[in-house]
Symmetry: C2
Subunit: 242 residues, 2 copies
């Protein structure tokens, strides 16, 4: 395998991470980006050799990726499932489910501090755009939503978020990198939509929030198309299933 020496996952996000976490994140990116094609069979020994680590962190990574539905652990080897279009829609089903639930809780509590925090994050996003830093922008985008979710202090909703976040993160990273190269002016719209979201929370306007969520969803649809493009760029021959 002509393994590219480049890493897809931002290395600076892994400053304090263990080898296992590094492998997990990198493998996830390679699967979602399509660099590792769906249907491929991964062997622990081979991966260990490729990553130049022992089998321990590899096993750890495979367990995590299996829980994320990206691979399927079988008797002999782990087969790569990858993300189909249907999966991406389903992830956003879950996000809509979560965030509407969260909003119902938010309208009952004081959100002044949250709004302040979110405003700060949007400012950061603007800076990231200004300096063409796709990874930083992605980071703040994810942080935005995570901040909202954490506010309601619901450990099991947070658990769901934690389980879907890594895949979301990878999707957003890949999409944003592609956009910074091609559709730079998309970002003003994204910023605007986030500000709409903040306003909805601030005024506790349920309709505005729903509207903003759907807008965000539409944005994401765009992201998905971008991702598809970037996948086609990265991988040699993607066979479009179904």
């Amino acid at each position: 395998m002509t393994e590219s020496t480049e890493f897809l996952y931002p290395q600076k996000w892994l400053s304090k991470a263990s080898t296992g976490d590094r492998v997990t994140c990198e493998l996830r990116m390679q699967i979602i980006s399509g660099r590792i094609e769906s249907g491929a069979i991964l062997s622990e020994n081979k991966l260990a050799a490729d990553f130049e680590v022992s089998r321990s962190p590899i096993r750890e990574a495979l367990k995590v990726l299996a829980a994320e539905n990206l691979i399927r652990l079988e008797r002999m080897g782990a087969v790569v499932i990858g993300l189909k279009e249907k999966d991406i829609e389903e992830i956003y089903d879950v996000r809509l489910l979560i965030e509407t639930f969260v909003f119902e809780r938010l309208v009952k509590i004081d959100t002044k501090e949250l709004v302040r925090e979110l405003s700060k994050i949007v400012e950061m996003m603007k800076i990231a755009i200004k300096y063409r830093d796709a990874d930083e922008f992605s980071y703040q985008d994810i942080l935005f939503h995570e901040t909202i979710i954490r506010t309601i202090n619901h450990s099991y909703v947070l658990m769901i978020w934690n389980n879907t976040r890594p895949v979301m993160e990878s999707l957003i990273l890949l999409s944003m990198r592609a956009r910074f190269k091609e559709k730079y002016d998309d970002f003003t719209r994204i910023i605007k939509n986030h500000q709409l979201y903040i306003e909805a929370i601030d005024t506790k306007d349920r309709n505005l929030m729903i509207q903003s969520l759907h807008q965000n969803f539409d944005d994401v649809q765009g992201k998905v198309e971008d991702l598809w493009m970037s996948q086609q760029m990265l991988s040699k021959g993607v066979d479009p299933e179904k």
Copy 2:
């Protein structure tokens, strides 16, 4: 530690399971039942000695339990979080969230086969009651809901279910065992409620479904109180937090 030689998790459910899975299930039961008190600090070496296995399957188990929010992995040792009353409520928030979502999909498709399957499961539950088999009853109860959820073929909703199922399973097991000893006539009500659920799906009656879901939730509230009792029986001194 005066480790009881008895296993809490049904051994026959582990016929083909690896050592890692066995440890995971047993540890989970011990934490949820309160046999391992919340706040306790678990060390991999100690657990390995207690279970008479190596650290590998123990590590595996701890990772899983951490993802389920039952323990928190720290630098030195894993601290047991356990289930507080709030957590149990939150689990059922998630279940309500999932099952209402699922129902919205169910009303759009043909559910004849599903209804047949569910009826079969309820028959099995009746037999389990007749023979006072709490574990078998629990198994069918969980299977009932999982069957419904699997029907809509939504991999990410299924993922959420998979993430909450183990804890649910433990809760139900402990609760049902207690009930078979004390509140035997509860089961006619539970059966009735499941039949109501089936009817709601069959007639695609949204209101009936909501009603049945809430009834189920109330049932569960009872379950929770039972669990609390059984916890107090099992563990010497539970300190009621908050």
